[in-house]
Chain length 361, copies 2
């Protein structure tokens, strides 16, 4: 078992990574302060892991669970309300702990519910997808979507514990494994060139679900993300580099309708757009863009815009993206492979050229 | 103009209290950091003050407003979503400031919307009722109700500024003025016996809306509340004394249906219940209970339970109240007039006796 600490002062918390952790009641007993627990999961994950988790929680006084419908399309205020319904119907008080069992959607909604229920209760993340293990479980971003924008309603809220059981990846569909790998590749691109090289060496092992390779990729990704988050918890500056590829990716998700492209797939195409734009600005080389595309291709991830999206679709969707500050478009670009920078002064013609080079009409 | 500071470290903010402040654009210019503003108000308040406020905000680049339906019955996630709709339709970004113009419902929902929109934007309170001026505008509690419990969904979130224009009280209906006075009386009861005596002297002036008397009562109430909040921002301990009368009051509101009794009316009856219970426990004297009842009576506030409520109604409603910790009923009682204490060990038979003494069946 590997343990790492997300260093946020009084809001610091541990991430435990290993095999078979879900079965170990001691980790829950150690980190959950109250005697009440609500497990939030979804209809896909529940048959796989809920029973195991509930049995690890059996020493608590009150253990309830609620199952949400599966998918980004249900990451809404309405679905969030089902968590509040469960908490109130089962009479959970302020001392309760919400345990999120599932992927990013379950984690983001559970965390936001924990932030809001009675103005804040404890929270534990048990992410079961690669994407949520390497991304959404670290850093405290929680929330839901709005029809006019992704993650527009939410809170910064830190868990008491993140418990990552690598065994949960055994049942993950191939497409979702790849979507998670997109975010793993991102860490290499934005801040960890040696990790990018490691991924080029070990992509086959990851896709074959080699436990050592997966475990290392998760640890390294969480370590990279935790370092960025510790420096800038509330995204007033540097943390925004974690959004590399995401401004474009959110545009794809918003225009296609949430859930049609997986988040990681949209981010993969978005990273290529951001990389091409970085190259047009004279920063990274064409060879670096090719290395990214090649690695994404091996991971079965898209490198192009959806064929039905126009340049205008992107420009419009990006104008309401959170990365817009006082009317200026803020993008994360690469000065070099392994070194992202936040840029406020992208010329519009280069932006359009990069979008077209990625297949936008 | 009187200014006082709510001392919460980096989340400190000023409360400005005076006559004609709404017309003074300088206060807004000084405390609003961005160039975008969304005013949130309701259909009752908008015809009275919205135009004046908008003209004080005319120097900002983007000024929009949204009008919510009036009343506690609309303090819901659904109504909250109308604020998000407005922000996104009008393309407000992270640099926007939400200005709440109205009473406690508008303030609580606007503050919660500010806490959640893009994970947190700036917030200014312009409370226009006595209740919101002396209570909800100080201390950062924001949120909405759930059908199963009041204020069950929310956040602690501090504004950048609270601006209290005493002139707004001129149009306040008598019943709402009285409801506000209930919370003013509360400060005297829980922590400020000299202020209670001042209220006994000056109740007629308050009811006649004497500006000096109102201004003094607002200042003193805000000062008392700010001192309690500064000591315990997130209600881990002492701050709970501000809930004096509220556990009973929330039961009344929940059982009667939100909005039938005004919050201050329910708190008034709840304070008498808590005071009677304090007397039964051997703490305050029967004379102190009489002083409270007499002052409430002069302020045209109830001193009895709604006649259709039973003891069981109270016990059931109170079991889901936020003041329950790990299954124990936590109540705020009075050791003396002007000195509240939090008590975890109320005997149930005394609780029932106090409820019956206040007319519960």
């Amino acid at each position: 078992m590997h343990s790492l600490n997300v260093d946020l002062g009084e809001r610091s918390y541990p991430i435990l990574i290993g095999s078979g952790l879900l079965k170990q009641s001691m980790y829950f007993a150690e980190h959950i302060r109250g005697r009440q627990v609500l497990v939030v999961t979804n209809e896909t994950i529940a048959p796989l892991f809920l029973e195991t988790l509930l049995s690890s929680l059996s020493s608590f006084d009150k253990v309830d669970s609620v199952q949400l419908p599966d998918g980004e399309a249900f990451k809404t205020l309405d679905t969030l309300n089902r968590i509040f319904d469960a908490l109130l119907e089962k009479r959970h008080d302020r001392s309760t702990t919400i345990v999120a069992l599932g992927g990013g959607v379950v984690g983001d909604m559970s965390g936001f519910a924990a932030a809001c229920y009675q103005r804040g209760v404890d929270f534990v993340q048990v992410p079961t997808t690669l994407l949520s293990q390497v991304d959404s479980s670290v850093g405290g971003k929680t929330g839901v979507n709005h029809p006019l924008g992704k993650n527009m309603i939410g809170a910064f809220y830190q868990p008491q514990l993140v418990l990552i059981d690598i065994d949960t990846l055994a049942t993950l569909p191939d497409r979702e494994l790849s979507a998670g790998i997109a975010e793993v590749i991102k860490y290499g691109m934005i801040c960890d060139a040696p990790f990018f090289a490691w991924l080029e060496e070990n992509m086959d092992a990851l896709l074959a679900r080699n436990p050592e390779a997966l475990s290392y990729a998760v640890q390294r990704s969480c370590t990279d993300k935790a370092a960025v988050v510790a420096e800038d918890e509330r995204e007033s500056g540097r943390r925004a580099i974690l959004n590399f590829g995401h401004t474009f990716g959110h545009a794809i998700e918003a225009v296609q309708g949430y859930g049609k492209w997986l988040h990681g797939e949209a981010v993969a195409a978005g990273m290529v757009m951001a990389a091409r734009l970085s190259h047009l600005r004279g920063w990274i080389s064409a060879g670096d863009v090719d290395r990214l595309c090649s690695l994404l291709s091996r991971a079965n991830l898209p490198q192009q815009s959806p064929s039905d999206m126009t340049v205008d679709d992107y420009l419009q969707a990006m104008a309401v993206d959170k990365k817009v500050q006082n009317g200026k478009l803020r993008l994360v670009l690469l000065e070099a492979l392994g070194n992202a920078q936040i840029s406020d002064d992208t010329p519009k013609d280069q932006l359009v050229e990069a979008l077209r080079a990625c297949g936008a009409k």
